[in-house]
Symmetry: C2
Subunit: 204 residues, 2 copies
Amino acid sequence: MTDPKLHFWFDFASTYSYLSAMRIESLATKADIEIVWEPFLLGPIFAAQGWTDSPFNIYAAKGRYMWRDLERRCAVLGLPFQRPKQFPQHSLRAARLGLALRGTPQLATFCRAVFSAQFAHGGNISESELLHTCLSSAGANSDLADKADNPDIKAALRRQGDRARALGLFGAPSFTIGPELFWGDDRLEDAIAFAAQISDANKV
Amino acid sequence: MTDPKLHFWFDFASTYSYLSAMRIESLATKADIEIVWEPFLLGPIFAAQGWTDSPFNIYAAKGRYMWRDLERRCAVLGLPFQRPKQFPQHSLRAARLGLALRGTPQLATFCRAVFSAQFAHGGNISESELLHTCLSSAGANSDLADKADNPDIKAALRRQGDRARALGLFGAPSFTIGPELFWGDDRLEDAIAFAAQISDANKV
């Protein structure tokens, strides 16, 4: 019996992950599906593919297209958009905070706050002050900011990388249900439908 | 006034171009949009990005995912699918034949026949016999096969490459309306909607 939970894999620096982060809860609620937010780092995954920067910076035509596409998709989806000055941003600290919040109801709100700060308001998510504001707005204890530096959280983030590789992830956002992988915000609806199917089959 | 025609850029060897080739006419008819079929070669575009093979072969995890994704998308869209033994296939001759058919009503039918032969039936589109069958099934004169070798057609294919680069194309399928670029079968609906908007604006 496959677990019908939909695992949402994202890097806080990933542009298209912003779209999914803002859309996923309402789609999941409609389909009666549970979401597991899975922050991870794309850097090591890209490095294994020979990339030391975002492919959107390495391949100029693709990068130019991505920013125009993102702007258009935000308009279609009714999401605010402001291109941040720096791309990609350092997402290590945000990812650690996300893992420190694992299993709490504040996690999803914190993630949306970080994505909005960056892609709706053009902020820099490597700044401590910005992250503190995101924690507060999620109703999370700001002592958490210190917890992000403890060895357990650092180890948890490395484990996320191992799990991502084992699942065959090569980009973000990605969605997994058991071993089934969907890549890109464009597959969010298909992934939800797949999880709903598994969930229905389990009920029979 | 932007020309509201939707230019559909594809390489006959491109997997996701198969999906668009099979879907585009019915979507365009519904939206009352004219499609211009634009065969071109991805090879030189990829080479300029430093790739001497399909990125789906260079990046193994991405390649594995693509085949599974294609299979799933074909199921969702109701399209037959059979993975060809060789990928990518040599699409030079098919592209030249496509250009020889430019401006004729047989072009779209020929293109769909080539894509189906490859991705619905697992055939090899570099084979002359297969291409002859595609020409006949499109109701095109099979003398055309000889015309594909003439210098005008070869020059026309090189010009397609120049146009593709000038438009900022980096993959296929791509869709352009004036300078506006949409990439990937997942953007076909958005591209059609954009073209329809331009068309309506021109009527006012």
